[in-house]
Amino acid sequence: MALDTKAIGLLILGLIIGAAIGYGATAFTGGGGATTPSGGTETAGPQEQQTVTYKIGFTLPLSGQLSSIGKLWEKVAYMAVDDLNKMMASYHLPYRFEAVVLDDGTTEEKALQNVQTFAQQGIKVVIGPAASSQVKAVKSFADSNHIVIISPSSTAPTLAIPNDYIFRNTGSDALQAKALAALVNHEGIKKVVVFYRDDEYGTAFADFFKKEFEALGGQAILLSYASNLADFASEVASLSSKVQSEGAEAVVLISFDTDGANILSHAKDDPVLSKVRWFSGEGIHGASELLQPSLAEWLDSINFLGTRPVFISNPLYEEFKKKFENLTGTDPPVFSEKLYDAVFLAGWAIVRAGTYDGEAIKNALPEVAKHYYGASGWCILDKNGDRAFQDYSIWTIKQVGGEYKYVDIGTYSGGTLTFTESP
């Protein structure tokens, strides 16, 4: 045998050291050993009652591709847990929650590793991950280990699966595609080119948009672009010739923020593209690049319109927004109200389940959601564990007090389009 015994010895040694380091780390995490590995802790609180502290895991994109949103989400997460605890205290309920936030770097591998880490710490409820591909990566582990996953932002239609441990406090893209199609149709446009990211989000969105738009009697031509590039100048050039040859009246842009801003800044200088109308989904909303005067001026001049999932004129949302602005000085980024409510849903589901057990929480969650109205509105879930009702606001970029800003000028709710301001 070529294998020497030293090899096995070292291997075992490695295992033990590794496990010991890991174990030490968790013991430390608990903060003075107050936490038992089962996740529920009993400590004597300031009240007479014994309070139980439950941990809620967060796997958020604090670094990597989505980190610009993830960093703000982290603040939302802590804020939400804080508010939840205040609410529990005001109801004199003996439950407290603690946020454990891990960074998943917007990668699948890390998301899974984070969920496993939570599982090892006995955490049964995890909020996140952000991207649908990450949710898929953690799905089989969550299902078999009974970990409840609540993603605030995964919208992939392929994850609409009943009876699993994956919940999504956001409408699937199919819903938004319908809203956007109605908007474009409302503007009297009959032929559009849909310019979309070639990833899962873009592909699914574009497909649904085409379906909905053609049901309304329009014509949609699909054109994808490579989302993993940093340079979109030549993509925009191809788009330009496509728009010209097809004689389309408008472009529907399905993008994220960085790529979308880049595409628009090229389109601004294109003789064809700068003359047609542009529409967009929520991915680009909030990107600071769009507010730069030269770009914003053009967007304003062509009457750029977009949809985004939001609850409209909700006092809770206004309160949340104000609080967040006070805390960070910026607008809440996309999906932050979903994240905020997801924390409350998780908390109440744990309370309702009465035990910190994955299966019980999973069963309690839809019931809690049925009666929950938060910053994002009614959080009722459909049979797939996804948000059943989603309203959209119509946004544009306008000059407000000498400065360009994102402005919501209308709503799409329950199948009807209403403008609060003229577009």
């Binding site: 800044s265 600071s288 730069q292």
Partner: protein, 315 residues
């Protein structure tokens, strides 16, 4: 359909590629190392112009100058701290190349970490910055608008290429660089101070690549920390087309690749409906074809001849 915009893009992209790829070929010829830190020079240059724009310094020429100095300094640092010690120990060029790989990964995430802090300090998204800088104004000729950035790119790349040519061909240090490239041992015997000459060469290479990074940022208009990574295989392709030897062929390669990325893909898209997202696929195919059909013989320590699959021994 191939229109004016494709042609203009090809020109601007090709020039930026050229300024990025020339120093890669130069440093390869002199040291025989394919330097992965080249990616960082690009990113560094791109972020120089982007961050300067962010704090209100919007003169592109200042940005180009600072980028040159930063890129050059980084290259010299790498050479002094890592490449030269490894070379002196007699390490294989492959090992030095792997060390440059390590440096690349380290710097890349260092940049991420720094931007992460800047994000908090500046309260803007530093991981994706729109370039705001000013050079020449845009010019409109009939129906065609020539972007100011394109004019900046043309001017800069012409100046940089000319300067490189003059330095390499007409100055003493340039001759010393070429002597080392042609024969290390002979150059050293003839009393060329290898260390000093190499540092100068690295400064030139790093600085030029960073200038290329600025030009690339002007082309892309949005800068992310992945900006260098996203084009490095294209730049390698260009260098390989140049056989990692000829600077003229490298310049030609830049336009072949940029033409492939703009015009060829547009034609294929229009005639065969090839998705635009196949663009990198196309470029890598060019790279593979070049390596397989016109391989740089002996390059990178390989066999100095073509191994014949079916020997032609005749009777």
């Amino acid at each position: 359909m191939v229109g004016v915009s494709e042609v203009l893009n090809t020109v601007q992209m090709g020039l930026a590629y050229m300024v990025i790829a020339l120093p890669l070929t130069l440093s390869y010829r002199v040291t025989q190392v394919i330097n992965f830190v080249h990616i960082i020079f690009i990113t560094l240059g791109a972020y120089t112009v982007a961050l300067l724009g962010l704090i209100g310094l919007t003169n592109v020429w200042i940005a180009l100058g600072i980028a040159f100095l930063l890129g050059g300094a980084l290259a010299v640092l790498d050479n002094v701290a890592v490449f030269e010690p490894l070379w002196r120990r007699g390490s294989d060029v492959l090992i030095i190349m792997v060390a440059s790989l390590g440096l690349w990964i380290f710097y890349k995430y260092l940049i991420y970490a720094v931007l992460d802090k800047l994000f908090i300090i500046l309260r803007t998204n530093t991981l994706s910055v729109l370039v705001r800088t000013e050079g020449f104004p845009s010019v409109t000729l009939g129906a065609v608008t020539i972007d100011g950035y394109l004019i900046d790119t043309v001017v800069t790349s012409v100046v940089v290429t000319l300067a490189l040519y003059l330095i390499l061909m007409k100055t003493r240090i340039g001759k010393a660089i070429r002597a080392i490239a042609d024969n290390q041992t002979l150059a050293e015997i003839s009393g060329i101070p290898r260390g000093r000459v190499l540092n100068f060469m690295w400064f030139l290479a790093g600085g030029t690549a960073a200038v290329g990074g600025v030009l690339w940022a002007l082309f892309q208009t949005t800068v992310t920390p992945e900006i260098g990574d996203q084009i490095i295989l294209q730049v390698f392709s260009i260098a390989v087309i140049g056989g990692l030897y000829s600077l003229t062929k490298t310049a030609l390669g830049a336009f072949i690749v940029s033409g492939t990325e703009n015009i060829v893909i547009a034609v294929l898209h229009d005639t065969f409906g090839l998705p635009l997202s196949f663009r990198p696929f196309l470029v890598f195919s060019v790279l593979l074809i070049v390596i397989l059909v016109w391989p740089p013989l002996g390059a990178g320590g390989g066999l100095p001849y073509r191994f014949r699959i079916r020997p032609r021994a005749r009777r």
